[in-house]
C-alpha cells in the first residue's frame, strides 16, 4: 500500500493541475477574507447571523473560518485524482501496475487526503494571516485565544484532507468529471444550505458543514456543532460510505 500511495503522490507532483487548484483556493480564500476584513468584520461568520467587528471574538472567528474554498478545492482535487486518469487514459497503466482496484482507490484517497491537508494549511494560513494583519492595522487586541486560533487552523487542515478523500470517492462513483465537480459545489453550496435552512437540527450532520465547523464555523439557529472528533469521524465515514458504493460499481467496470 505504501508504494501505491507514494505513486499517487508522485503523480500529483508531476502535473500542474494540483498547483492550479491550490492557487485558486488560495486566491479565493484571500479574496473573501480581505473583503470581509476590509468591510469591518464580515457578515458570514455564521449561517444566519451577521458577524460583529474584528475587535470581538465572534467577528475575528468569522474571518478566521473563511477556509471553505480550501476545502472545496481539495474535494475537486480528489475528484480529478480519479476521473483525470480516465479522461487521459492513464487508468490503463495504473491498473496494469496494480490490478487490485480497491487498493488503487484507497491509495488515491490517502494521497488526495495528504494533498488536501496542504490546501487546508494554505487556506488557514491565509485567512489567519490576513485577519490578524487587519486586526493589527486597526490597533485591536486579538480577541481569541491563540489555542482557539490554532484549533480552527487544525480543523481547516483536517477538514480539507477528509473532503479530498470524499472527492476521490465521488470521482470513482461518477463517470463524468464535470458531473462530479458540479455535484461537489452543488451539494456544499446549495443542498446543504437548503437542508440546513429547513432543519436546524440537521446542520451538524451535513458533511461539508461538519468540516467547516471543525474549522470554527458557527451554525445558525443556536444549533451546536458536533465535537471536533465527531465531525471528523462523520466526514471520514461519508468518504468510506461513498467509496464503498464506488467500489461496487465503477471500480468493477471495464476499462476500455
Amino acid at each position: 500500500m505504501t508504494r501505491s500511495v507514494r505513486t499517487e503522490l508522485l503523480k500529483l507532483r508531476t502535473i500542474r493541475l494540483p498547483l492550479g487548484l491550490l492557487a485558486t483556493a488560495a486566491g479565493l480564500t484571500a479574496l473573501v477574507t480581505i473583503l470581509g476584513a476590509a468591510t469591518g468584520g464580515g457578515g458570514h461568520g455564521g449561517r444566519h447571523m451577521a458577524a460583529p467587528p474584528l475587535n470581538t471574538a465572534a467577528g475575528l472567528q468569522a474571518m478566521l473560518t473563511r477556509t471553505g474554498f480550501g476545502m472545496l478545492m481539495a474535494a475537486v482535487l480528489g475528484v480529478t485524482v480519479v476521473r483525470g486518469e480516465f479522461r487521459h487514459g492513464t487508468a490503463t497503466a495504473t491498473y496494469l501496475a496494480t490490478p487490485d482496484r480497491v487498493r488503487v482507490l484507497i491509495a488515491k484517497a490517502m494521497a488526495a487526503a495528504g494533498a488536501g491537508l496542504t490546501f487546508g494549511l494554505v487556506a488557514a494560513g491565509l485567512s489567519t494571516g490576513i485577519s490578524l494583519t487587519f486586526v493589527a492595522a486597526k490597533g485591536y487586541q486579538v480577541a481569541l485565544a491563540w489555542g482557539t486560533i490554532a484549533r480552527f487552523g487544525a480543523g481547516a487542515i483536517l477538514g480539507s484532507g477528509l473532503l479530498a478523500a470524499v472527492g476521490v470517492s465521488l470521482g470513482a462513483l461518477f463517470r463524468s468529471q464535470i458531473a462530479a465537480i458540479v455535484t461537489v459545489f452543488a451539494w456544499a453550496l446549495v443542498v446543504e444550505q437548503i437542508i440546513g435552512g429547513l432543519f436546524d437540527a440537521a446542520q451538524p450532520y451535513l458533511p461539508y458543514t461538519a468540516a467547516t465547523t471543525m474549522a470554527g464555523a458557527t451554525l445558525g439557529g443556536g444549533t451546536s456543532p458536533l465535537p471536533f472528533a465527531a465531525a471528523a469521524a462523520l466526514v471520514a465515514g461519508v468518504a468510506a460510505l461513498v467509496s464503498a458504493a464506488a467500489a461496487r460499481t465503477t471500480v468493477q467496470a471495464d476499462v476500455s
Binding site: 508504494r3 505513486t7 508522485l10 493541475l17 483525470g84 487521459h88 487514459g89 490490478p99 476499462v255 476500455s256
Partner: protein, 301 residues
Amino acid sequence: MAVIEVRGLTKRFGPVLAVDRLSFDVGQGTVVGFLGPNGAGKTTTLRVLLGLVRPTGGTATISGKAYTDLPDPLRHVGAVLEASGFYPGRRARDHLRVQAMAGGFDPARADEVLELVGLQADGTRRVGGFSLGMRQRLGIATAMLGDPEVLILDEPANGLDPEGVRWLRELVRGLAEEGRTVLVSSHLLAEVAQSVDRVVIIDGGRLVAQSSLDELTAGARRVVRVRTPRAQDLANGLDHDGVRVERVGADRLEIIGATSERVGMLAAQLGIPILELTTDAANLEDVFFQLTATPTEPEGS
C-alpha cells in the same frame, strides 16, 4: 509450452458480441501477430487478457494465471495498449518514473528505457507536445520498464513513420532473439509479416486462422516476376518444366506456381541473365483479405 492461453473467450457489450468463443495459444519465445480488421475484437481480447475487461465467458491466462493474479505483473508482462494513455502535462521521464514507482523498479530505469526507444533527448518534454509516433515509442518504453518476458503490443505501428516501423520491426525481432514472448496486434498483415513467427487471425470476434506465415500462404497463388533480356528462352525453359508463364512485356515474365528459388536455379542452369526477380508479396495480403472478408460487427471498445 504456451505462455498465453485463450480458451473459449467471449465478451459481449450489450447487444454487441465483440469476442466469440475465441481460443488460441502463444508459445514461449515466439512472436505472434494478432491480426484482424478494425472492429474484429483484437483490442477487447487483449484488454481481457490484461484484466482490464471482464469476460462474459471463457478464460485468458498468462503463464497459467489470470493477469490480476500475477505477482508484480509489470515484471512479467509489458503492454502497450493505446497511444493516448498519457497525461499531456506530464513530462515523459516523469511518466516513466510514475510507472517505475508503481512497479517497484529502480527510477534509473526511466532513463534506460528512454534511450532504448530513442527518446533520451525528449525526457524533459511534456507528452502533450509529442507526435503520435513519439507517444508510441514512450508506450513501448513504459512496457519495457520491468524488463518483462512477455510483451503485448496493440497496434504499436500506428502513427509511426516508415523509419519508425522499421525500428519497431527490429525492436520486436531483437526482443524475440532475447527469448521473450511477443503478441503484437495489427489490422495490417504486411506491417507485421517480417517480424512474426506465427499469426492468429480473427474476424467478427472469431478465430479464422492460427498458423505460421508459411502455412498461411502455402495454398495461395504465388506470382514470381522476372525481368531478363532473354525472356522467351526462360519462358520456354519454365514451360518445359510444366510451370505456367505469362509474358507481360518484352523482357518481363510472370510465373505462377513456382518459387523464386526454382526460377533462379533454372535461369542459372540455362545461363540466362536475371535483371530482376521478385515474389509478389501481395499474395499474403490476399490470403488475409480472403480470410477476413466477412462483414464484422463494430468492436465494443
